[in-house]
Symmetry: C2
């Protein structure tokens, strides 16, 4: 346990808030903790009946490059992870799923951020027509799941949630 003795609010933004806590450590000494507050997010590995998976490629400002990822997005206020997963799947790749099963819950960067990541496996896919939200630019496409799992094992996937999803899928689909 690290008891908070004071909190300084640094920034309240659109997606993140930042604060610095004064904390009392196990030995009674004092330290500071920089904390990024995040609303949480979902990621969806959507697999078709013929074992293809959906991916998106989009520009990520923090790393100044395009990244290959599975569909994902942050939770709206009061939104359940399950509903968020269904919404993002429709918005980003135009699909609805008969089954949406949570296969992982994890923290992406627990050293400095509160972000929780819920990863879903979506199967029984059907096309739906949903408009992409304004200001979202991404390219959506499919890859054979087996090929994507090989990419994950060979170091060709550089996004943590996508790595976790594909490596778990390898076990689920015996790849």
């Amino acid at each position: 346990m690290e008891k908070t003795t004071a909190t300084k609010r640094i920034y309240s933004g659109k997606i993140i808030n930042v604060r610095v806590d004064d904390v009392e450590l196990q030995d009674g000494s004092m330290s500071k903790r920089e904390v990024v507050e995040h609303p949480g997010a979902v990621a969806i590995l959507a697999v078709t009946d013929n074992r293809e998976a959906f991916f998106v490629r989009q520009y990520r400002k923090p790393i100044e490059k395009e990244l290959l990822e599975i569909p994902a997005g942050k939770l709206d206020e009061g939104e359940s992870p399950q509903s968020c997963a269904a919404r993002e799947l429709a918005e980003e790749v135009g699909m609805a799923a008969d089954e949406l099963r949570q296969i992982s819950f994890h923290y992406s960067s627990p050293g400095f951020a509160s972000e929780k990541m819920y990863v879903f496996l979506a199967t029984g896919l059907k096309k739906v027509d949903v408009a992409r939200p304004e200001g979202e630019f991404l390219e959506a496409f499919r890859l054979p799941l087996a090929e994507a799992v090989s990419m994950a094992r060979n170091g060709d996937i550089e996004d943590s949630k996508t790595l976790v999803a594909l490596l778990l899928a390898a076990g689920i689909f015996n790849l």
Copy 2:
């Protein structure tokens, strides 16, 4: 590409910096991007000759709970990922490795943070005597690698870098 037209510095801290960029999107419209700058980090899956892996349990302020993780730490200025991995392995679990092989490079939260994560597999382990840095409180222990891989597959590992490391190790060690 998202062209930065202005940058506002919000916070310069010990581990993170925060800025907000005004960016021009693909269609010429303007938006804002909140960016957490991070120095990058390493994580080490250290496996003994009899297939046990080292873990640490430590309190993580952003999520207000203890988390089971592999040894990890952030890069010091000018430090290579390889040197950082050797240093953290010694500091956190008191081991040196004959072989330290990078098995993943990924971004932990590319939507809002620049953090790069380098994951190493450490083998040929020998005990070393190194003092733990002040203010670091963690419990170190070993688990059979096969058991840890099962935990990762069953949802009992909630740290992203640890999940990636264990699921990649499953392929490497045929587990």
